[in-house]
């Protein structure tokens, strides 16, 4: 390479050499290169080194993977699919859990607040003697609470047992799924061929 600096046409000639090695040199350029190399030692040395590298590569056969490669790829694909299914399943379960918890909390809050508002209105004479607006608002809240409490109370009295059963079973199923997701996480084993 150092010697190539001695040749003013070195850069141009090596471009031709590279094309020649790929069989992409036309006859006029080939002739130009050959003529140049007859008199230029630096370029001749460069050409020999380039040709030597090309010969080394051409003699070196392509290599194939170790046995069982395809099977290992198939296993990783399967693991990946399982992982995806579990992720989507986990998201569905999380959404379901949050909805169930939210609905339960909302129902309990309505029941408790409704009863409280109802009792408060009934046992507060000062409120009943207040201004007309305050009285109307308090009366509305009290009636709403009373209505909600009566509705939920009636629902619990009529269908209490099946509701509690469904809620219990739902919670058990969700707990089971959560435990499975946390304990049996995918990707515990790697199939990189050398396991």
């Amino acid at each position: 390479m150092e010697r190539l600096k001695e040749c003013a046409q070195g850069e141009r000639m090596t471009v031709l050499m590279s094309l020649a090695l790929d069989g992409m040199l036309d006859s006029s350029d080939r002739q130009r290169l050959e003529e140049h190399m007859k008199t230029c030692v630096a370029c001749r040395t460069e050409w020999q080194a380039m040709a030597k590298v090309a010969a080394l590569f051409e003699e070196s056969p392509a290599v194939g993977p170790p046995l069982g490669f395809a099977v290992r790829v198939e296993r990783r694909l399967e693991d990946q699919a399982k992982k995806k299914r579990r992720t989507f399943g986990g998201l569905a379960v999380a959404t379901g859990s949050l909805s169930l918890i939210g609905a339960t909390v909302a129902a309990v809050l309505i029941l408790v607040l409704g009863i409280a508002a109802w009792r408060w209105f009934d046992t507060s004479p000062s409120l009943q003697q207040g201004t007309q607006t305050v009285t109307q608002v308090a009366s509305g809240v009290g009636l709403m609470g009373k209505g909600a409490s009566l509705f939920l109370g009636d629902l619990l009295l009529r269908y209490g047992a099946p509701l509690v059963l469904v809620l219990g079973v739902g919670l058990l199923v969700l707990l089971g799924v959560w435990a499975w997701l946390l304990v049996k996480r995918p990707g515990g084993t790697h199939h990189n061929g050398f396991a």
Binding site: P65, P66, F69, N192
Partner: protein, 181 residues
């Protein structure tokens, strides 16, 4: 070719067995590329596996006018270039690591032949290691996969003149390495 198209269609429907046929059909060129790029059998296997996993997940983006093997080699070369960049240095030469089998093993080679082949493979690896990752990919695709300049350019998402220049510079660098040795 029709069989290949059928496997691709089936794999697109989620048939992993059909994709397994594609893996068996093209495991050799893909592995050869990753091995030549990374210079290490263990890492080459991992990169080749990763190539097929990516191909499976991106199969819907494959355009049938392209050769399927070239599409796979494109994924593999980009993945190897990324790995080499992350590595930030030339690949570690793990002489203790297993050497991959040759494609053309007819009879059991004699011990001296094995030694000579291993020596040759080491030499190839040393020469390739002197190249930046983009140059290395161009050289491997040219010599071991017989691609034209245009095919290499398509595979590496660049221009034909860029490939011509990379091959020229790579050859000069490798010649320098050989002269220095």
């Amino acid at each position: 070719m029709d069989q290949e198209r059928a496997w691709i269609e089936q794999a697109l429907q989620g048939d992993r067995t059909a994709f397994g046929h594609l893996v068996r059909a093209y495991e050799r060129p893909v592995y050869n590329l990753t091995y030549r790029m990374l210079g290490n059998a263990t890492e080459a296997e991992d990169a080749a596996q990763e190539t097929f996993l990516r191909a499976y997940s991106k199969l819907a983006t494959y355009q049938p006018h392209r050769k399927f093997v070239n599409w796979l080699l494109s994924i593999a070369s980009h993945h190897c270039i990324d790995r080499l960049r992350r590595r930030g240095r030339a690949p570690q030469l793990s002489l203790d690591g297993p050497l991959p089998p040759l494609w053309t093993v007819s009879d059991k080679p004699r011990p001296d032949e094995v030694a000579s082949q291993n020596e040759q493979r080491e030499r190839v690896r040393e020469v390739l290691d002197t190249l930046p990752s983009e140059y290395r990919a161009a050289v491997v695709l040219r010599y071991w996969h017989g691609m034209s300049y245009q095919e290499i350019a398509d595979t590496m998402d660049t221009t034909e003149s860029a490939i011509k220049s990379r091959l020229h510079r790579a050859r000069r660098m490798m010649a320098r390495e050989l002269q220095a040795a």
